[in-house]
Symmetry: C2
Subunit: 111 residues, 2 copies
């Protein structure tokens, strides 16, 4: 199937995973996967959180930011792929000056 993000109703979410600011989320979800397109304006973040029973894979489409892998923060930009394996912790913030847009998949691994 084709997931047309432009046809999904965007949710405006403040404090996502206890992060800063308000982000826009377009999400498709079934029992197996969350498939998402995030837009974080400058200074917004996805707060640091852990993945239990699932993982998260991110591909950055636009902008720059910093990614946390449970230990340290690393600068990232469009074209970067981030992976939070099951049981680990991560976060992502837009500390650049343009929107940070990323594609993300959260698969469930124990159905």
């Amino acid at each position: 199937m084709i997931i047309n993000f432009s046809e999904l109703v965007p949710a405006e979410i403040t404090g996502f995973k206890d992060g800063d600011g308000t982000l826009t989320l377009r999400k498709f979800e079934d029992k197996s996967n969350k498939i998402m397109l995030f837009t974080l304006p400058p200074e917004a973040s996805v707060g640091v959180h852990s993945h239990c029973g699932n993982s998260e894979i991110i591909y950055i489409l636009e902008g720059t930011g910093s990614a946390f892998d449970g230990k340290s923060w690393t600068p990232v930009k469009a074209g970067a792929c981030l992976y939070c394996p099951e049981g680990e912790t991560h976060g992502l913030k837009n500390d650049g000056d343009s929107p940070l847009v990323f594609f993300a998949v959260v698969p469930e691994h124990h159905l």
Copy 2:
């Protein structure tokens, strides 16, 4: 963690999933997920195949092509998201005139 596709050794694969031509695949893999960057030159394809125990989520980064969802072929282009749920069938071909580049995740759902 950051997956740096440019540092992964690219595999040149002919007839991937019984498809046409030779594609380039950069792959990270653990027990939970395959995380991949594909480049299909014009006329190359990923053959039609089914997903058992896992699914596949694709985000097209560059180029144009046609996607099969088990029933019909649909034109796709950069920015399209394709989802093959567990138990279903799909395929993807580059019938354009430039490389078709896409990010793909194959998560295992029954660990």
